[in-house]
């Protein structure tokens, strides 16, 4: 039984249509859900609403020395990012790029490895294709923070969201938020069944940085 996921993984690897793409360090529990088994360089991923999920994805590349950029998200919580193990010295924020968000993203894609954007409006297919080509050429990964279902980014490799979460440590008028158990669901572009994992986050918050996890498939 235990070998079923392994076999599936092997089949998926054999079925890859692209030339080999390099992958970024990825949070292990999420890596298992993603097509290709990790975040791919030059690819685009959509993340539904949750900045926590974005930070979880940024943490591993940042800890490995990659520069990260956040474009158009003025409410990005710097302290929480540091708590996830994102190196603030290698994190660049462009909170308000205005109308020039695509140009800004393109410009910083030349230098940074992982870029988070929240598109203020729907971009034309041509400009998205141009940006994607630039990302592929430079090997930068784009994480698109969407707000709801209507604003999905064309050509994204996978769509990540937190579908369910529950908090511990807080009660009815007592305690405080301590940790959270969240279900991360990934829908890949190639279709197939959405894959989910439960992640306990953040455990050992602030010590080791990356929220550790107990993941289980079902």
């Amino acid at each position: 039984m235990a070998s079923v996921p392994e076999l599936r993984e092997r089949i998926r690897q054999l079925q890859t249509t692209k030339l080999d793409t390099r992958s970024l360090p990825t949070h292990p529990a999420i890596a298992r859900l993603l097509p290709g088994g990790a975040l791919q360089e030059g690819a685009t991923y959509s993340v539904d609403r949750s900045l926590t999920l974005i930070m979880l994805l940024l943490a591993a590349p940042s800890a490995a020395g990659a520069w990260c950029g956040v474009v158009g998200v003025p409410e990005f919580g710097v302290e929480a990012a540091a708590g996830f193990g994102i190196d603030l010295g290698r994190l660049v924020l462009v909170p308000d790029p205005g109308d020039q968000w695509l140009a800004t993203t393109g410009a910083i894609a030349d230098a940074l490895r992982v870029i988070v954007i929240r598109p203020p409006k729907r971009a034309s297919d041509a400009s998205v294709a141009r940006l994607s080509a630039r990302l592929r050429k430079r090997g930068a990964t784009l994480l698109v923070l969407g707000n709801g279902s209507h604003n999905t980014w064309p050509q994204s490799e996978a769509m990540l969201s937190i579908t369910e979460s529950s908090w511990t440590g807080i009660g009815d008028g007592h305690g405080h938020l301590r940790s959270r158990e969240a279900t991360v669901t990934v829908t890949s572009r190639t279709g197939g069944r959405p894959r989910s994992a439960r992640i306990l986050l953040p455990e050992n918050y602030g010590d080791t940085g990356v929220g550790s996890l107990q993941a289980a498939h079902w």
Binding site: L51, I54, A80, D110, D172, L177
Partner: protein, 521 residues
Amino acid sequence: MPASISAPERVLLLWCPDWPVEAAIRTQGLKPDALIAIIETGRVFACSASARAEGVIRGLKLREAQARCPTLLVAPHHPDEEARAFEPVLTAIEELMPGVQSLRPGVCAIRARGPASYYGSEEEAALWLLDQLDELGVPGTRIGIADGVFTAEQAARQRFPQRIRVVPAGTAAEYLAPLPVGVLDDSSAGEASVVTLLRRLGVYTLGDFAALDAGDVRDRLGEQGARLHALSGGLDSRPVVARVPPDDLECAIAFEPAVDRIDQVAFGVRALADRFIAGLTAAKLVCTAVRVELDSESDELSSRTWLHPRSFTTAEVVDRVRWQLQGGASEVGLSSGIIAVRLIPASVDSIGNHEEGLFGGGPDERIHHALSRVQGMLGRTAVLTGAIGGGRGPADRATLVPWGDRLVHDREPSPPWPGHLPAPAPSTVFEPPRPVTVFSASGDTLAVDVRGALNGSPASMSSGRSTLRLTAWAGPWTVDEQWWDSARASRTSRFQVVDTTGTAWLLALEHGHWWAEGRYD
């Protein structure tokens, strides 16, 4: 024999009384006749003559000084600023006679031999010096001329009507003999303890002290005592070490006629910036902070200091000039033409400390280039890097600085900040906070009384458009900040709540209004 026995040289010492006060008047624009006291660690460090007439003396506690003189203006002691304000005085002296040693702000020494033979006599030289300083507007300067720096300073400080006091060569010991031993106690704690001990031993004047045997003094009081003993005998062998006048590193350019477009100024400044950086490099220095001064046609002066995390290059200096111009103007046009640009190195460092390692230090050149380009597109403050600062609210704790600037915290992260929220921090921080309304189960708006008690438990919250039901909550954590300042005082009660979707919120209640400060999404 120790060096202290060698014969002291003739020294001309110049003393500007109450220099810290004078410096405060010059740098902070205080009125010259105001009652001013300069305070260091809660005690009076220096005061103006008018304040002294009211009974304020050095060493007095601030509160006592204010009791004696209720209209006292208080300014903190800034040694750096005082030294900077003394710089024009030193320059003025150097115009007359070279080889000035600045002992501390307000006091400087010159070897007397050269000026004395040039101007005819020591008095003559001192008169020239006083003329020059009176012209500069430095009031009440006094000059002492004697053997050795210590004797000359005592001569300058004695309250005689005439402003120049000459102690003839070889008579230093006789001159010093009647002075109290207290004059030895000037700077360090070690000297203070020696002076206290001398008083207990019944030695009250410098003459008494100098009469003691040098060997006995060394045995009993050690090296420091021996030095003070030599001083009181008029044997101050401290040589005058002339300062090296600093190189003129600042650069200026004048535009004739005035230039009124930013890109024209930037173009004109490029050669200036090249010269500025080349001048620094020639002096084996790098600039880590530059002050840019812009004179406009309408007589406005725009001055700003730009910090750099490493050191400036030519292009970066030009960028700073451009950004400073953009700060006060619309896209390209300036409110009035620029007639002059000055670049002044505000802080420099040895080039050796900034040489790049063989395998590169600092962020990658490529990253810097790309981010600078974005700054060119959107403005300097559009590209930020962050760090965690101090404070209690989640928005307070994030310190964001523009890319290329040095990190300066608004609130220091190191003091404990009791009342700040425990980890985890909210991943979304609303700045400014968003207004919400929180209702209890019975549908009333929730409020907190003065004792921090809640009039119900939160059951739902509304942002105006949508309403969320709450499943769990905690709080209130009340923070009463800056209550001493009525303009900035805030009393905030914070809550954490969890809604039915599993998203948690950080809410704040301030003056009866609810705000969403953050979201744990």
